[in-house]
């Protein structure tokens, strides 16, 4: 049986969804017998190739996030929004209540203990969006995996369903958290 190819990325997230993915522990080891990891923070593949499943953690806060998200949509047959930030912006979207300049000024100009206050500027930094967006506002999403973060059991259930050729379904006890 050929392996299912999965890519993962974290956009404007905290890496907690990836940590939870690893929380499958020994069950992840078993899962990896049926899965080949493509682009992911866990591998050194820098660009997403053709994949069966893409897992996206985090919302969209800058131009880089948009490019990566589109690369995933173009290459993944099934794209899954993983966690609160991908689904509705999450904690990073709290900055949407302020304008971006205020946020930058607080960090660089008005903070305590700052030497040479100025807003740094360099071509290497991706253009910030004025608001943080959920990913479904940018590309089509096939499934949503809720939670902050979704539990390892949720990952296992959804990936198990997809590997078995079934429509993924989460029972209530798996989407009950905190």
């Amino acid at each position: 049986m050929s392996k299912i190819r999965i890519a993962t990325t974290s956009l404007a997230g905290c890496f907690g969804c990836h940590t939870s993915f690893l929380d499958m522990d020994e069950r992840l080891v078993a899962l990896l017998e049926h899965v080949e990891l493509n682009r992911s923070p866990l591998t050194d593949i820098k660009h997403c190739g053709p994949c069966d499943i893409g897992l996206i953690e985090g919302g969209v806060c800058n131009a880089d996030n948009v490019h990566v998200l589109r690369e995933f949509r173009d290459n993944c047959k099934i794209l899954i929004a993983v966690g609160a930030c991908a689904i509705n912006g999450g904690v990073p979207a709290m900055r949407n209540h302020f304008n971006l300049r205020e946020c930058l000024e607080e960090s660089y100009l008005n903070g305590v203990g700052i030497e040479d206050p100025q807003i740094p500027d360099d071509v290497e930094l991706p253009l910030l969006l004025d608001k943080v967006h959920p990913i479904h506002e940018v590309v089509r999403i096939d499934y949503y995996l809720p939670g902050c973060p979704p539990s390892a059991d949720e990952f296992l259930k959804v990936l198990g369903d997809l590997l078995g050729g079934k429509e993924p379904a989460l029972p209530n006890n798996l989407i009950h958290y905190d």
């Binding site: 974290s10 404007a12 997230g13 905290c14 890496f15 907690g16 969804c17 940590t19 939870s20 690893l22 929380d23 522990d25 020994e26 992840l28 080891v29 990896l32 990891l37 923070p41 866990l42 591998t43 050194d44 593949i45 660009h47 806060c61 800058n62 131009a63 880089d64 948009v66 999450g90 904690v91 709290m94 900055r95 302020f98 946020c103 930058l104 607080e106 960090s107 660089y108 903070g111 305590v112 203990g113 700052i114 030497e115 040479d116 740094p120 500027d121 360099d122 071509v123 290497e124 930094l125 991706p126 253009l127 910030l128 969006l129 004025d130 902050c148 973060p149 539990s151 958290y177 905190d178």
Partner: protein, 490 residues
């Protein structure tokens, strides 16, 4: 050492984007001339969150649970640093003995899982297969394939740390452990007993991990100088000078071992630390005020802590530290790749401390919250997170709403050091050579040694960008966008 960026038009840009097998978003860029000589090598963090701003106006009680979402690998460290600041806000000087023990146990679980994740899942492929080895194998799946026993131990070590966190905080990631002045929930005897079942294995595996890292580092002479330079070290130590992760005084020592300050009350951190903003950089550069901007930068994290402490209070880790010390001939071990070795010594210390705490009857006590005193307007909490000293500083108004926040995360303190390491490796290994994937990975190996937590570090990073470059897969510039700062992308 800094590279000049006079005429980038004549230089070729090579980017490693994203840096992989680290936590969060970063990239390394090189500017090269026609003969592949390196003109600039930099490590960038490319995101901005703005926590200091959007936390304003929130009730102080919420803060530990919002700010832990800076980082899904060390959320406990952020929650605890914020909780220590909140304790001060509600006038609590001393926790109940059980609350203090539970917080320590929680944090040992956090550091153990983070250190295991970093070595086994992220960095071990470089150290086991070689820096320039086949990238298709150079990951945790490759390690599982080639060294299944070792990889599985790593998986289980991380799992154990997470189980401790879940027992205390309710779940493995972003749980709710702390309340102002104490803890939310007692550890039941059944939970304690369940955690004791595996502790013997955990200790043995941590010892194995120390030995493996010691063996790797001491048997590769070329690892000594890799990305290495002499630096100052900063971190908390206990009142007796012992290794301390939860609470202590600040100690700074210079590269020659001289004490810069010791047992410094961290609530006065603004008297000793400043953060410089540089126009060409994305991350602030903290430095010790006494030494000034040029000389005052320092390293934090496992290498700093194991060098800086006088002893470790648990016997197995102390024996491991003595061997580390011997390797350094009594002086500091400045080897950047020795971060891995020091990290595993700390993991062993965590396992030993967890065992001690689980055998302490007080750990299942139920007196969890200290009586609150008079409200104060400012709280400063500092902790040794897995990656180094972490500062949380909050001010509130009379309604208890946040008016000011300042966070110095561990990775920010290593900013200068990571850039020095990248430049060192670029000059030593890449300069004048035809760049290959394997050579480029050497730069990432240098960054990975620090276990940078780039999600943490994004809280206060950012800029008002003026240009966006679109490059094709070969790194060739396809188009360039220039916009005014007020414009919105997309």
């Amino acid at each position: 050492m800094e590279q000049n960026m006079q005429s980038p038009a004549n230089l070729r840009r090579v980017a490693i984007d994203p840096v992989t097998r680290v936590e969060g978003h970063g990239k390394i860029t090189l500017l090269l001339d026609d003969e592949n000589h390196i003109h600039e090598a930099r490590f960038h963090i490319v995101e901005f969150r703005g926590f200091e701003k959007f936390i304003q106006g929130r009730p102080y009680r919420e803060v530990p649970f919002i700010v832990q979402r800076l980082c899904g690998i060390c959320p406990v460290s952020h929650q605890l640093a914020a909780a220590k600041a909140v304790d001060q806000l509600v006038g609590v000087e001393r926790l109940t003995p059980t609350a203090e023990k539970l917080r320590r146990l929680l944090h040992f679980g956090q550091v153990l899982q983070s250190h295991a994740l970093h070595f086994f899942h992220l960095s071990s492929p470089d150290l086991l297969f070689g820096f320039g080895s086949d990238p298709a194998q150079r990951n945790i799946v490759g390690v599982l394939d080639k060294y299944p026993d070792l990889a599985l131990k790593g998986v289980k070590l991380r799992k154990y740390g997470q189980q401790i966190i879940a027992a205390i905080a309710g779940k493995r990631i972003h749980g709710t452990a702390t309340v102002p002045g104490g803890m939310n929930k007692a550890l039941s005897i059944a939970e304690r007993d369940a955690l004791l079942v595996d502790i013997r294995d955990i200790l043995a595996w941590c010892q194995d991990a120390v030995e493996l890292n010691e063996q790797i580092h001491t048997s590769h002479p070329e690892h000594r100088a890799f990305a290495t330079f002499s630096s100052n070290f900063l971190g908390l130590v206990g009142s007796g000078g012992e290794l301390e992760l939860y609470h202590g005084g600040l100690r700074a020592r210079s590269a020659d071992g001289a004490t810069i300050f010791d047992q410094f009350d961290y609530r006065g951190y603004l008297d000793i630390l400043r953060e410089e903003v540089r126009p060409w950089s994305y991350m602030k550069f903290p430095y010790l005020i006494g030494l000034g901007k040029e000389q005052g930068w320092y390293r934090v994290g496992p290498l700093a802590r194991v060098n800086n402490c006088d002893f470790i209070a648990t016997p197995l880790a102390e024996a491991a530290r003595m061997r580390f010390r011997e390797f350094g001939r009594g002086g500091f071990v400045q080897d950047t790749l020795a971060y891995h070795w020091a990290r595993m010594i700390e993991a062993l210390h965590c396992a030993e401390s967890i065992k001690q705490l689980l055998h302490d009857d007080g750990i299942t006590g139920t007196d969890l919250v200290a009586g609150h005193g008079e409200m104060r307007s400012m709280g400063i909490g500092v902790i040794e997170a897995p990656r180094g000293t972490l500062f949380h500083h909050y001010q509130i108004d009379e309604q208890g709403l946040i008016t000011k926040a300042n966070l110095i995360v561990s990775t920010t303190s290593n900013n200068q050091a990571m850039n020095e390491s990248v430049r060192s490796v670029a000059n030593e290994y890449l300069d004048g050579r035809q760049l290959t994937e394997g050579l480029l990975n050497h730069l990432e190996v240098a960054v990975r040694a620090y276990d940078p937590c780039l999600s943490c570090a994004t809280h206060a990073l950012g800029k008002m960008p003026l240009q966006v470059e679109l490059l094709d897969t070969n790194g060739v510039l396809v188009s360039k966008l220039t916009r005014s700062a007020a414009d919105v992308c997309e």
